[in-house]
Symmetry: C2
Subunit: 140 residues, 2 copies
DNA sequence: ATAGGGCTTCCAGTAGATGGAGGGTCAAGA
DNA sequence: TCTTGACCCTCCATCTACTGGAAGCCCTAT
């Protein structure tokens, strides 16, 4: 099948499939006319990538996961480690955002939000004197 | 003062200050030797930007916030709207990550993580049959 | 023959910096 | 006076993970 059909079948946009091929995440055969040719396994791997990315794994993680998937002699330990590290990153991010949320909610609720110029949000940003709870600097 | 001192005083790396000047977020005077010259107000504005960015506001939001800060005739309504929208984005992101966390935690706990090759995480990625709770596709 | 849709490559742009090369400036010490 | 080292400057490349668009070939139907 051609890229359009593979895109529909895998859930990934054609552009993204080309990109994944470009960065060496997946190898795709070519027809005599230069068109990419996808078989069922290609589509399967693309869907695998789609799901891995959907879970927030980085491209490099996906590369490693796909390698582990291909390696029938793998240890599930290795997969679990990747997943656990990812989970830890998610937890860290949630904690960070939770702090941030508390701060922002405090600021928003402190501001009258009317036609007058007086605004505790701007005061806070200008002074560094936090009205609400403190928070960690975002590392995004 | 020069950029190094301004960096220390504002908490922003010198590189970032140059970048902010480059994208027109702040205007900095120059000495006869070409060096940037910072006064107390410049440092104050840089610290304002540092705190705004620290709260996760986008550069464009920061630009708007700085404009509102300068506009003594502003309505606090306008500031509150920016902040509320930002808060809503944070909430959405937290919800997204919470879903994701549930899914990942389910996968991680289902995997033995030993020397054997059998791995429910890979199975899940390969099949699309979610073992744990479903989740939204990340829009990062 | 032509129109359309699909396919190709390559280039640019997104957000928000960060790292480094290559080179000018300045103040202090030998 | 010369040199060393710490600054400072600009410009370009790099990072993540795509996405959009231009220019142009391919294939099928009418």
């Amino acid at each position: 099948m051609n890229i359009g059909e593979a895109a529909k079948a895998s859930g990934l946009p054609a552009k993204t499939i080309r990109y994944y091929e470009d960065i060496g995440l997946i190898r795709i055969g070519r027809d005599s006319n230069g068109y990419r040719v996808f078989d069922a396994d290609d589509v399967h791997r693309l869907a695998f990538l789609n799901r891995s990315r959907g879970l927030g794994f980085s491209i490099e993680d996906c590369r490693a996961l796909l390698d582990l998937y291909d390696d029938t002699g793998r240890a599930s330990e290795d997969v679990k480690r990747l997943a656990s590290e990812h989970l830890a990153r998610i937890d860290a991010r949630i904690a960070e955002l939770g702090e941030l949320r508390r701060t922002m909610a405090g600021l928003v609720s402190a501001c009258a939000g009317d036609a007058r110029p007086d605004c505790p949000i701007l005061k806070d940003l200008a002074s560094g004197q936090r009205l609400a709870a403190g928070h960690q600097r975002l590392r995004e």
